[in-house]
């Protein structure tokens, strides 16, 4: 089946992203689809791997989404140009990381502040996020969808109820509460709290 995308203006895209829920999901998917040629272009231009280009592109799309949401993006540039700029710098970062992975021999170690605590904290947080993601997988549907719709896409309870074909939004609200409780319980079980 061929999907036909209706052209959206930058104002519409920004409005839909700020609106959240179904509108945001549609706008983000539109943004991904509309500018996917950038991945192909960057993969060829900077000679980065396709998978790396895709990751950088997705990071750029999410960054654009967040900046529209936070009001950092004020519509001075076209969204596609804005996205391309971010995507370009993220791709260049990949190349830089690759380049700095090569070994450099130095006679003395450069002086740097001790960042040991920050690193361990960062690692701890990453580990927690990873564990929560694992729990979300284990909880299964509809908890995962409810939490994703609510926490990531910003759907309203009414919209989630419609998506799950549940007549009473209160039921969804209670279900969401139970899902969060279950998540916390499981986290306690693995001594994160």
């Amino acid at each position: 089946m061929k999907v036909i995308y209706i052209e959206k203006s930058d104002t519409e895209i920004a409005e839909e992203i700020r609106q959240g829920g179904a509108a945001r999901e549609a706008a983000v998917r539109y943004l991904i689809e509309k500018n996917i040629g950038f991945v192909y272009k960057m993969h060829r231009k900077l000679r980065i791997e396709e998978s790396q280009a895709k990751d950088a592109y997705l990071d750029a799309v999410i960054a654009v989404m967040q900046q529209i949401e936070n009001g950092v993006y004020r519509g001075e540039n076209k969204i596609s140009s804005y996205l391309y700029q971010i995507f370009y710098f993220k791709s260049v970062d990949i190349i830089r990381k690759k380049a700095t992975n090569s070994e450099d021999y130095v006679e003395s170690m450069p002086e740097r502040a001790d960042s040991g605590n920050d690193i361990s904290l960062d690692l701890e947080q990453k580990e927690s996020v990873r564990q929560i993601a694992q729990i979300l997988e284990k909880i299964g549907q509809p908890c995962k969808q409810i939490l994703m719709d609510w926490g990531f896409w910003g759907y309203s309870i009414q919209e989630i109820a419609q998506r799950l074909k549940i007549d009473d939004p209160l039921k969804v609200s209670r279900r969401k509460y139970r899902c969060l409780e279950e998540l916390k319980e499981r986290l306690k079980g693995i001594k994160i709290l």
């Binding site: 192909y40 396709e50 895709k54 799309v61 929560i132 995962k144 994703m148 969060l180």
Partner: protein
């Protein structure tokens, strides 16, 4: 608890990213597939254009080189060399000198000598003089004069069949296609003419 909320949100964002990555993969697959189709079409169009150009060039070359009267003339015409016979008479000497000059491809010298021979009614080799004068004119690209000279070769002369063939070629090169075709048709119909097959072949190439 606030920290936990942040972590849950981060985990949800992580999950969201995984889902969106599937969308990126899907969109990219569609895009590259379309690109490939587009490139295939471009290559096919380019290949077709090249084939058409080669075909066109072949036709052009075919029409403008091999089948032009000049090219046909060049591919069929061979300038004959003259057989010089030694003699004692003055006329004969002029004729000998004319043929020597002709064989040396010194047509500028051969033409006035041959004309001198023709003016002298007592010269026996009149047909030979007209015949080689015709060829000397042809070598000088004076095709109308060549046709006129070759016409003068008497039908009883042994040179007459060759003169007719050469006249047909000279007329062809001179863009007198109707005249050339008429002569060629008569040669093609003449079973005794040694150029019968060649004339038939040339008529085919002329589309007659």
């Amino acid at each position: 608890m606030h920290e936990l909320d942040q972590q849950v949100k981060a985990a949800l964002a992580h999950q969201g990213k995984i889902l969106l990555r599937l969308d990126v993969d899907h969109a990219y697959r569609n895009y590259t597939s379309k690109q490939r189709t587009k490139m295939r079409v471009i290559y096919q169009v380019a290949a077709a254009a090249v084939i058409v150009m080669i075909f066109g060039a072949t036709l052009f070359v075919g029409n403008n080189t091999a089948r032009t009267p000049e090219r046909l003339f060049a591919s069929y015409y061979e300038i004959p060399s003259a057989k010089v016979e030694r003699g004692n008479s003055v006329n004969h000497l002029v004729y000998q000198n004319a043929l020597i000059a002709y064989n040396r491809q010194d047509y500028a010298s051969a033409i006035p000598l041959l004309q001198q021979c023709i003016k002298d009614a007592s010269m026996k080799q009149q047909d030979g003089a007209w015949y080689y004068l015709g060829h000397a004119y042809m070598a000088q690209k004076q095709l109308t004069l060549a046709v006129d000279a070759l016409k003068k070769v008497h039908p009883n002369s042994l040179l007459y069949p060759d003169a007719r063939w050469d006249m047909a070629l000279a007329a062809l090169a001179n863009h007198q296609k109707a005249q050339s075709t008429d002569i060629l048709k008569s040669i093609a119909a003449d079973d005794t003419h040694h150029k019968q097959r060649t004339a038939q072949d040339l008529l085919k190439q002329l589309g007659k």
